[in-house]
Symmetry: C2
Subunit: 274 residues, 2 copies
Amino acid sequence: FQFNMIVVGASGLGKSTFVNTLCGQQVIPRRAVDDPSQCAIEKTIAINPITVEIEEDGMKMQLTVVDTPGFGDNIDNSSNFAEILGYIERQYDDLLAEESKIKRNPKFNDNRIHVLLYFIQPTGHSLREIDIELMKRLSARVNIIPCVAKADSLTPKELADFKKRIMEDIRYYGIQVYDFPFDEEDEDEETVEENMELRSLLPFAVVGSDEEINVNGRLIRARQYPWGVVEVENLKHCDFARLRYVLLSSHLQDLKELTHDVLYEAYRSEKLSK
Amino acid sequence: FQFNMIVVGASGLGKSTFVNTLCGQQVIPRRAVDDPSQCAIEKTIAINPITVEIEEDGMKMQLTVVDTPGFGDNIDNSSNFAEILGYIERQYDDLLAEESKIKRNPKFNDNRIHVLLYFIQPTGHSLREIDIELMKRLSARVNIIPCVAKADSLTPKELADFKKRIMEDIRYYGIQVYDFPFDEEDEDEETVEENMELRSLLPFAVVGSDEEINVNGRLIRARQYPWGVVEVENLKHCDFARLRYVLLSSHLQDLKELTHDVLYEAYRSEKLSK
Ligand SMILES: Nc1nc2c(ncn2[C@@H]2O[C@H](COP(=O)(O)OP(=O)(O)O)[C@@H](O)[C@H]2O)c(=O)[nH]1
Ligand SMILES: Nc1nc2c(ncn2[C@@H]2O[C@H](COP(=O)(O)OP(=O)(O)O)[C@@H](O)[C@H]2O)c(=O)[nH]1
């Protein structure tokens, strides 16, 4: 069972922490913060796929995560787009090349990205130009699920307003995102309701943590502040648990199918007709 | 009594909220968030001085605040520097022109900026290229006090590590900031201790709020989350109260004097010797 995801967003939005939280283990190491000369200003955005074996619902799966450090830090961020899009398209090119071989490689590794989680700065205002540009350009090549990063920095009202505004921006700018599509005639009522509810949660409010805190005798992933504890799996605190279920369980298959049947096919036709 | 400050930082870092919190009144209106076509992407950074009368320690004062919306939102942010630096230098030029007049204007308004509060994204990592560039260039012209914006999104340990790293970056990149200078021989022990302690708090952890919450029967500015309440004036929650005292009381005079005796003089010599 293989699932490939890429996490995109500015540095410091909690992407590595999210990946570790999702996998339930320290997949991406904590970045050393104590050395100014070890420049945190990565002029080129390094794209690093990391594969980890995780267990979900009793099933083993290979999760490949691509973290994109350094994005958005620079005064001029235009080269970052090209890097991320280039990475996604290279995986399509690899498969295209493999499919056209006479003698195929049985060990070929399909690294096509099944979902891109786009981490949005919790500004409380609206999408930034850089978010609109990037999501628009990538949406033709990969399933995008927009997320509000560090959602614990927004009060419930701010979060609700922000989510509403983000989705209005997404519609206004014609950005295609994965919005839990369903065919009302094909699916049973329960599936329709579930998908409508997930759609209403977009963008998912993400909180992650590398720390486990003792809360009422249980050790859980949480962020401990002087004024209280944010529990990552508490649905009253954020949408992490819902997102995790969507990615690793309920919608994994749909995301893979869309990637293969729609996005890859579109790329292939464009490429072969040139 | 007149004091002029400019607040600089990316959109959505809580600058307007901070100004309202500092003044104890709604000086900068809440931005309308509900209209995608009312583009939040301000391509030019609008520099808007707002003057408000506030009372501090029983003394009336005129506080002029310059908010800088839209900074850092664009894919290419290089023109923003010029705007902010240009604004600061224009106030120096106005005074220079006024001083050289034969017949001076008794009603001349001195709008020179006495302090620039630089709001840093609470990434938890280090200064970004854009922060280093901007602070370095502005430090020759204005007193800079660096602040951690939305400090309630960092746990106590993250905040301490982040503050330490920011100050290391500031030293490493040779960025001149206002660090509560004192002359150990001139000042009394109490003043020396106070300044050393303020210096150790840099960058100031800022939290602001437009809302008043009832906490133990008192109505106080706070941010209410499902997991707890962040109290703006609580020194265990953030440094807001210390910063307010520094700006409007204890160090107001020093900031004005440095602006006039050092920064303006340096600008004047450079300008007149060309
Ligand atoms: N407030 C908040 N901080 C977070 C969250 N997740 C991670 N952080 C902190 O944000 C900082 C940067 O996190 P990191 O995962 O390295 O971000 P990345 O640069 O996007 O990979 C660290 O101090 C984390 O502990 C979150 O959900 N909420
Ligand atoms: N977490 C947090 N959010 C804040 C703080 N101050 C303001 N906000 C929220 O951040 C959003 C943007 O604030 P605003 O003052 O408009 O930011 P500006 O664009 O820098 O002027 C709003 O939803 C505010 O309520 C703060 O100290 N902490």
